[in-house]
Amino acid sequence: MSDETWILVVVGAYLALSLAVGWRGGRGTSDSATGYVAADRSMGGVLMYFITGATIFSAFAFLGAPGRAFSTGAAAFHIVAFGVIGFLPFYWTGPRAARLGRERGYITQAELVAGELRFRPLAPVMAVVSLLAFVPYLALQMRGAGHVLEVLTDGRISVEVGAAAVYGVVLAYVWHSGVMGVGWTNTLQGAFMMVLAWVLGLYLPHALHGGVGPMFSKIDPEFLRLPGLASNGEPWSWLGYGSSVFVMAVGFSFWPHLFQKAFAARSDRVIRRTVVLYPTFQLFLVPILLIGFAGVGFEPPPSQADQVLPHLLLQLELPAALVGLFCAGALAASMSSGDAILHSAASIVVRDGWIVAGGRTLTPHAERSAVRLCLLPILVLSYVTATTFHEDLVGLLAYAYGPVGQLAPPVLAALFWRRATGPAALAGLVLGSATTLAWPHLVTSDVHPGLPGLAVNAAAIVLVSLAAPRGSGSENPRNA
């Protein structure tokens, strides 16, 4: 067999294994939306650890992060930095959301906020903000998968065909098994990614430079000094670096597909243990960054920074089966995020857009069927975005984090602030999102546009809530 055939055989075997694990993962859950979306609130510690970890570590981690290290040096360290602090809020928000979910039947983030603030219009607005972030994020995963296959087959499998094939598998197991399919495949994919990341991250510096220390000794110290370079190759400012870390950290645990896992957890203890252990998953980014730095000065250089990992693997003339395994690892990173996003997006459209906002009722079985029906149109929309949007992977993700960060103030207000009102949360969300989207067109600054958006968002929630008369009926009902 040719090398290319070996690679495709290994990748095919990995995809078949993912499909089998995901397909079987859904056994035992009820035939309802709560079973399909929230695993009947029965998810244990191991699945929670991997579903939260692997969901966040995506094509961005496996391809974008080495690419960022390769092209912008120390700026890539911010990817570790925001993840370290990003999950901390979930230590408090997770158990509280889970408790409310058990009491009132919530299975989505927007439903919780709209329900707690007794203000139904919040649900569709939060759903739209979520989808604005989900579509580019899912597109990012698809492009990552397509990139890997394109590079490793020397262009014989295009980005478009590769993305369609990989996400056909994702669609199949998500459609059949819902969140438990996502959980079990994420466990497989997460463990696989961690092993591969450490193997590659230690092997490539050793093979190309004689070790990690000698590798860094060869690189210009300026390239390794924080805050590094911006994506345009110019020196990044501390304002740009710090605001990016902050905004991405704020958005981190409020990604709706991640937050939603609070409703799936078996107990508060499971959630807290997951948060405590979570930074151990973050450590796997260190070898990932080493891969990118291993490519600095390598001849010939990759045609795009995002392709530094597959480029190095091909140039080193490793056994084809081994290259296929590494390719499967990158696909695992893409799929482990893509499946969770796809599943969450469909549940949000149905629960928040159709049931909560529209005031309609569906039987549990009908709601489960409706969520399944929404999977394909969301996947197609993301696919079209993936094949037409030509920003680099990290740039696409940074765009997605802008709107997501705006979900944090309304969620925190609904969970923890007695005076918060629904109209105030809506005002904050709309004004914050508008500021985030308009900022780059109005102001020339290194500051991440999500930061002024968050400031406007939080200020609007506080001011509008305080302006409402006490006992107006729109305050948080838990404290009324």
Binding site: R102, R225, A249
Partner: protein, 73 residues
Amino acid sequence: MRVRDALFLGYAILAVLGLTGVLFRGVATADGLVLGLPIGLAWVTAWAVATPFALWAHWAAGPRANEDEGRPE
């Protein structure tokens, strides 16, 4: 505010300020390698290593009475 909450809040604020470059910028930007890693990477990695211990200490110091809500494990 309870002592353990205040201590953890202090840790979290320090982490945010340290990781965004507001504080300790001199440390994070020093030249040289630590355990083979550039100082900046060693800096963020150290926070990733320390944070589970800080969270665990906060968790371990708290009451367990309300932690097992939900289904029995």
